[in-house]
């Protein structure tokens, strides 16, 4: 197995996101602080075989979201994301 096969996408963390957000989050847009790109969460790279979940920007690999679970608590961190946006995408 190549290490590259561990790279999934935001679809793989939809269930975990559902423990924090009520809205469906894979179709939410997320803005990267590292390079300014905006993509759907479902399109970003996700690493789930780890002590936590890491969502990384497909353009610059910056860590956009980190999720860690302690018992029943799920914490989500936003290291390098500027904003998250739900709802229908606008034109800006």
């Amino acid at each position: 197995m190549e290490g590259e096969e561990l790279r999934l996408d935001g679809n793989a963390i939809a269930g975990a996101l559902g423990e924090v957000f009520v809205e469906e989050m894979t179709s939410a847009r997320i803005a990267c602080e590292g390079c300014g790109s905006v993509e759907s969460v479902g399109a970003e790279h996700a690493y789930v075989q780890a002590p936590g979940i890491v969502l990384r920007c497909t353009h610059c690999d910056s860590a956009l979201l980190v999720m860690t679970r302690t018992g029943s608590r799920m914490r989500i961190w936003f290291p390098r994301s500027r904003w998250l946006e739900t709802g229908e995408p606008g034109n800006d």
Partner: protein, 250 residues
């Protein structure tokens, strides 16, 4: 039921196994009766959780294979070597057993007939599962949206849903199904016999100018090489939706 309601928090629930279908030697479909199932959209998945007697837990995601119109929920699982969950689901699980699941999950990798087309679906191995939900939904909705499925499998015996795909393709307004068999081909095979690549997609995929909706699913390396090839053919990157299955899908 067509469209899932806006959901509240996802909770774990139990489904009962009502039927088991051996699709190929290593792939099995599991048909579940899930009380109060809220409905789903084609392309979504469920999370399954298995718990051993000593409390040890393992959790995996499986794409929903059934159409939203189907009253019963079906998932299709490929048994992976050393896959602790897939081995259990494909080997040990029996009718009458219950599975703990939550869902439906996902909103990025979904297609509804009302979204239109043309539709391009590209699958590698068990990546065909969520795309099959889309094809079954297309049929149940009597949609005539021009649709192509490019399906990569190792051999003819390992093509999941093989007979059903033939039936769908033979129907009026059915999808066009293009197979490629990467490891072995049956005698007389005249179809593609290599991994999906740019040259193949140039021959069979929609022209980028027809602005197709595209869904690619399978192992990471498959998905990324297909998506890159489509972008080289002029498909806007944001129009190619991808879902990567990890090596430990089992």
């Amino acid at each position: 039921m067509a469209r899932a309601a806006v959901r509240g928090r996802l909770n774990w629930t139990l489904g009962e196994v009502v039927e088991l279908i051996d699709e190929t030697p290593r792939v099995r479909s599991i048909v579940l009766d899930v009380p109060d199932w809220p409905g789903h959209r084609a392309g979504q998945h469920v999370d399954l959780r298995l718990t051993a007697e000593d409390g040890y837990q393992a959790q995996r995601s499986y794409s929903i294979a059934s159409s939203p119109e189907d009253a019963r929920l079906t998932i299709t699982v490929e048994g992976l070597p050393d896959g602790e969950v897939s081995e259990y689901l494909v080997g040990e699980l029996r009718r009458g057993d219950k599975l703990e699941l939550r869902g439906p999950i996902g909103g990025f990798f979904v297609w509804e007939a009302v979204s239109g087309g043309p539709l391009l679906l590209v699958s590698g191995g068990s990546g065909i599962v969520p795309l099959m939900s889309m094809l079954r939904h297309r049929e149940a909705a009597d949609a005539t949206i021009p649709t192509k499925l490019v399906s990569s499998s190792r051999s003819w015996d390992e093509v999941i849903y093989r007979d059903e795909l033939e039936r769908l393709a033979a129907a009026a307004n059915g999808p066009e199904v293009i197979h490629t068999l990467t490891r072995s081909q049956p005698p007389g095979w005249t179809g593609y016999a290599r991994r999906v690549d740019g040259a193949m997609l140039a021959e069979v995929a929609w022209a980028a100018s027809s602005m197709p909706m595209t869904f690619v699913c399978g192992p990471t390396s498959f998905v990324e090489s297909v998506a890159a090839a489509l972008v080289l053919l002029g498909y806007p990157a944001t129009s190619v939706k991808t879902e990567r299955f990890g090596p430990t899908g089992g």
